[in-house]
């Protein structure tokens, strides 16, 4: 009996270790690839080389990496800020001032959460062209701010906020917007952190919509650049690996720094009902 149990145990650990290697190895390989030349990368060399400096130099001199990183930072920064302000205000409005009319508006909005982006992509593209926002970061940011999922996420989290505090502030004579900005937001920090991380990830990693709306090299984001680097006739794999590491690094840092909020943001509000 005892022995049978431990064999099971060993099998479980073997399985876990195997899955561990599968999950983590590509990250190791990515960092190793950053230090190797193209031929070695494509042949799957697993050890570290001495090409890291060359790869980084090539990336920053031939691909205008500084500008591209700044583009990504700008787009992501403003998108996240916009999403947080607009969505949390909306969720607060729906939750704190619930009326039948607004409840109806809210349920209609939620219904549209299931519609895939591809279904609105074409008219959205034509709208952007008409508004002369093609190839502009403003166009990309403006169209990415309204996020139904984040509104939903905020509202689910706001349900736990004690309404009495808002009432008490009103009695003290605080204006509605002051209550929201100086009492409500500070006490909801972890919800904002989770939403910020989620929107940061989706904006930083966005591909399809930026690919359509940003068609000039000057406006490109990191994701678009990596994609076009890899589809070149003679891809410089070592340099691509370097770009991938640089593009992944911010998210990894955020992940390890704010793991708790990160997971909370990922789970969204699916578990709280």
């Amino acid at each position: 009996m005892k022995k049978h149990y431990s064999i099971n145990r060993i099998l479980i650990y073997v399985f876990l270790v195997f899955m561990f290697i599968v999950s983590v190895f590509p990250f190791y390989w990515m960092v190793a690839g950053m230090t190797n030349i193209a031929v070695d990368v494509i042949k799957g060399k697993m050890t570290f080389g001495n090409q890291m400096l060359t790869n980084i130099t090539t990336l920053f001199t031939t691909y205008d990496m500084v500008r591209i990183l700044l583009n990504s930072l700008k787009v992501t920064g403003f998108t996240v800020l916009g999403i947080l302000i607009v969505s949390s205000m909306a969720a607060y409005g729906f939750q704190t001032y619930a009326t039948p009319a607004r409840e109806k508006a809210y349920s209609i909005i939620i219904l549209f959460m299931m519609v895939p982006f591809i279904a609105l992509m074409i008219p959205l593209f034509r709208l952007i062209v008409k508004m002369h926002l093609l190839n502009t970061h403003i166009g990309l940011i403006l169209t990415s701010i309204a996020s139904i999922f984040i509104i939903f996420f905020f509202r689910q989290s706001f349900k736990a906020f004690p309404y009495e505090i808002i009432q008490a502030a009103r009695v003290d004579g605080a204006g509605e917007f002051r209550i929201f900005f100086s009492i409500f937001i500070p006490s909801m920090k972890s919800t904002y952190a989770a939403a910020a991380i989620y929107s940061f990830m989706s904006s930083w990693n966005a591909y399809l919509w930026p690919l359509i709306i940003l068609q000039t090299d000057k406006q490109k984001t990191v994701t678009l650049m990596i994609s076009s680097m890899s589809s070149a006739y003679f891809p410089e794999y070592g340099v691509i690996m370097t770009a991938i590491v640089i593009a992944t690094l911010p998210i990894i840092i955020v992940f390890f720094g704010f793991q708790k909020y990160f997971v909370q943001g990922m789970l969204g509000s699916s578990l709280k009902q």
């Binding site: 302000i85 205000m89 607004r102 299931m114 074409i122 709208l127 309204a146 990693n205």
Partner: protein
């Protein structure tokens, strides 16, 4: 008297503030979401070549059934859906069950490691996989070294293996993500249930199928529907696994990775643009998502 009037004016101002708070979101959603969705429905009843656009009623929808490219894209997408989603969700469920066992060592480490792929950008991991699965790449080298295969597998050069590669890649990226959902739900199941089952003589496998699975049913349904939407929108991965990326003539060898979303993109931006027909294909995707979700609801026996 005064009390009543202040409360009425208060309710009025409350209502005004309610709309003020939600107005920004409503305007943005109206312009950049509702309007395009409705307009897309109208577009799907028109046909355009270049700038000429004419009303064709439902003939675009009829055209779908004769369009061999659409049928191929639909077939490919459904294959990815039917094979990849069950494998991934089952694997996620098993990993979550194992990591929920408090006697397992280094649970935190394993959990972090399994979740790590979910933080990578879709483009980054796709290109990483494209390099790893090249003909003389890492995977073939490793398999040859341990003598599992005698000659290199043409991962991205053969229609069948290209599909396998995409399925492996997707499973790598999303299993840990789904595992986190299951894990947090499992932590809410009281241990006494398992204790009682153990006393009744149910082994781990039986406990898995008769306790864990039924209790997680709503969440399994949720992840299944999320994965359905994800699979039907598959774009970044097939596009970037292809030889020339966005500019490639076929998506994967023999268009084996052509998905519905990629087809919509091609109709708009690669061929002579026909936005009307592209809108029709995109609405077909919406219908398929709805249909598959309903089927899953029914299959799970959810009465709500």
């Amino acid at each position: 008297m005064t009390g009543e009037s202040t409360s009425r004016s208060f309710i009025k101002s409350k209502n005004k503030h309610g709309w003020l708070f939600v107005s920004l979101a409503l305007i943005l959603l109206g312009v950049f979401l509702f309007y395009p969705i409705v307009y897309s429905l109208y577009l799907s009843t028109t046909s355009s070549k270049g700038i000429v656009q004419k009303f064709v009623a439902f003939s675009n929808y009829a055209r779908l059934f004769q369009d061999s490219m659409f049928i191929l894209a639909l077939k490919n997408t459904l294959i990815f859906f039917l094979i990849q989603v069950p494998i991934m969700l089952f694997l996620a469920l098993i990993l979550a069950t194992i990591l929920n066992d408090k006697t397992i060592k280094y649970r935190g480490l394993f959990r972090t490691a399994f979740f790590l792929p979910a933080v990578t950008s879709l483009i980054a991991y796709t290109i990483l996989f494209k390099m790893m699965f090249s003909l003389d790449g890492f995977i073939n080298g490793a398999l040859l070294n341990v003598h599992i295969i005698k000659s290199p597998i043409p991962w991205l050069l053969d229609p069948f293996w290209a599909k396998v590669t995409l399925i492996i890649a997707l499973t790598w990226r999303w299993t840990g993500y789904n595992m986190i959902f299951y894990l947090s739900a499992l932590q809410n199941i009281p241990e006494e249930i398992y204790e009682a089952a153990k006393i009744d003589g149910a082994n781990k496998v039986k406990q898995f199928f008769y306790i864990t699975m039924p209790l997680l049913k709503p969440l399994i349904l949720f992840t299944a529907i999320m994965s359905t939407i994800g699979t039907l929108q598959l774009f970044d991965e097939p596009m970037n696994l292809s030889q020339g990326g966005v500019t490639s003539a076929t998506i994967g060898p023999g268009n084996s990775l052509l998905t519905l979303s990629v087809y919509v993109y091609n109709l708009c931006f690669k061929y002579m643009p026909n936005f009307g027909y592209a809108a029709t294909v995109s609405y077909a995707i919406v219908l398929i998502v709805a249909l598959l979700s309903i089927i899953q609801f029914k299959a799970m026996g959810d009465k709500k």
